[in-house]
C-alpha cells in the first residue's frame, strides 16, 4: 500500500483541512477588504455580504475540523509510547523526536504549540463569522466592528500559518507512517 491509514489522516489534517483553512482565511481577508472598499465608495451593486459571511463560516468549520482531526485522530498515534526495548522508532514519532537532542524541540516546542493554538484560531474565526452573519452589510459599514474583525482574522491567519509550518517541520523529520 502506497499510503498507510495514519499517513492519509495526516494529509487530510494538514493539507486537506489545514491548507483549506489557510487559503480560506486569506480569501476572507481579501473579501473583507473589497467589501469595505465598496461600502466606503457606496458602490451600487448586489449585496454579497451573505456569501462573504458564508465563506467565513466555511473557514471556521475548516479550522474546527482541522483541530478536531489533529487532536483526536492524528495526535494519538503520534504520542503513542514505544514498547520497552523498541529500537525502531519510526512508528513512534514523539519518542523518536525526543530521543535525539537535535530534534527534541520539534516535540517540546513545535508539537506543544500545535496542540493548543489551533483551537484559539478556531474560536476567533467563529466569532468573526458570527458577527459577519449577524450584521451582514452593517459588518462592513461599522468601522470598529470591521477593524476588530480584521485584526482577529489576521491573528488567525498568522497563527494557522505558524502552526502549519511547525507541522511541516515535524512531518518532515518524524512522519506518521
Amino acid at each position: 500500500m502506497l499510503f498507510t491509514e495514519r499517513s492519509i489522516w495526516t494529509m487530510i489534517h494538514g493539507i486537506g483541512l489545514g491548507g483549506t483553512a489557510l487559503m480560506a482565511l486569506a480569501a476572507v481577508l481579501f473579501a473583507m477588504y473589497l467589501m469595505r472598499r465598496s461600502h466606503l465608495r457606496a458602490t451600487e451593486g448586489e449585496d454579497v455580504s451573505g456569501p462573504v459571511a458564508a465563506l467565513m463560516w466555511f473557514t471556521a468549520a475548516a479550522l474546527w475540523l482541522t483541530a478536531l482531526v489533529g487532536t483526536y485522530i492524528v495526535f494519538p498515534p503520534y504520542r503513542a509510547a514505544a514498547p520497552e526495548g523498541t529500537t525502531l522508532l519510526a512508528q513512534y514519532p514523539r519518542t523518536m523526536l525526543l530521543a535525539d537532542p537535535e530534534t527534541a524541540w520539534l516535540h517540546t516546542f513545535a508539537m506543544e504549540t500545535k496542540e493548543h493554538l489551533p483551537w484559539i484560531a478556531a474560536m476567533l474565526a467563529t466569532a468573526v463569522a458570527f458577527a459577519a452573519w449577524r450584521y451582514r452589510s452593517e459588518f462592513f459599514r461599522d468601522p470598529r466592528i470591521y477593524r476588530m474583525a480584521t485584526i482577529l482574522t489576521v491573528i488567525c491567519l498568522a497563527a494557522v500559518a505558524y502552526v502549519s509550518l511547525l507541522g511541516v517541520f515535524i512531518n518532515k523529520v518524524a512522519p506518521l507512517e
Binding site: 483541530a67 487532536t71 483526536y72 495526535f75 494519538p76 504520542r79 503513542a80 517540546t108 516546542f109 506543544e112 504549540t113 496542540e115 493548543h116 493554538l117 483551537w119 484559539i120 474560536m123 476567533l124 467563529t126 466569532a127 458570527f130 458577527a131 449577524r134 450584521y135 452593517e138 459588518f139 461599522d142 470598529r144 466592528i145 477593524r147 476588530m148 474583525a149 485584526i151 482577529l152 491573528i155 497563527a159
Partner: protein, 117 residues
C-alpha cells in the same frame, strides 16, 4: 467591567436595536475569554497546579484542556450575548480588552514561557 455606565450603553430604539453593536462586542469578548481560558489551562497544567482530566485516553491531557477551554468560551459567549444584545456599547474599550485577553491566551500557549514557571 462596568457594563451599565451611561458611556458604555445607550438605549437602542426598535430599529437601531438590530444594528446595536452588543452582539459583536459579546462575540469578540467571548473569543478573548476562550483564548485566555485555553492559555490558563495550559499554564496551570505546566505549573502542576491543575491538570484538566484526559477525556480521551489516546489523546491525553490535551483533550481535557481544549474541551474545557471551549466550554468556558461557549458559556462566556452565551452569558455575554444575552446580556449585551440589542444594546449599544462604547466598543473601543471592550475590543481592546478582547485583544489583550486573546494576546495573553496565545502567549500562554508559547512553550518557552512555561520554562519560566
Amino acid at each position: 467591567m462596568a457594563m451599565h455606565g451611561p458611556t458604555d450603553r445607550t438605549a437602542a430604539g426598535p430599529r437601531s436595536r438590530e444594528h446595536a453593536n452588543g452582539v459583536a462586542v459579546a462575540a469578540f469578548l467571548a473569543a478573548g475569554i476562550g483564548s485566555l481560558a485555553m492559555g490558563l489551562f495550559v499554564v496551570l497544567n505546566e505549573a502542576d497546579i491543575y491538570s484538566a482530566p484526559s477525556l480521551y485516553g489516546p489523546a491525553g491531557g490535551v483533550s481535557g484542556r481544549t474541551t474545557f477551554a471551549v466550554i468556558v468560551w461557549l458559556i462566556a459567549w452565551a452569558l455575554l450575548h444575552f446580556r449585551m444584545r440589542g444594546r449599544q456599547f462604547d466598543s473601543r474599550r471592550y475590543y481592546l480588552i478582547a485583544l489583550v485577553l486573546t494576546g495573553l491566551g496565545i502567549l500562554m500557549t508559547y512553550p518557552p514561557l512555561w520554562e519560566l514557571l
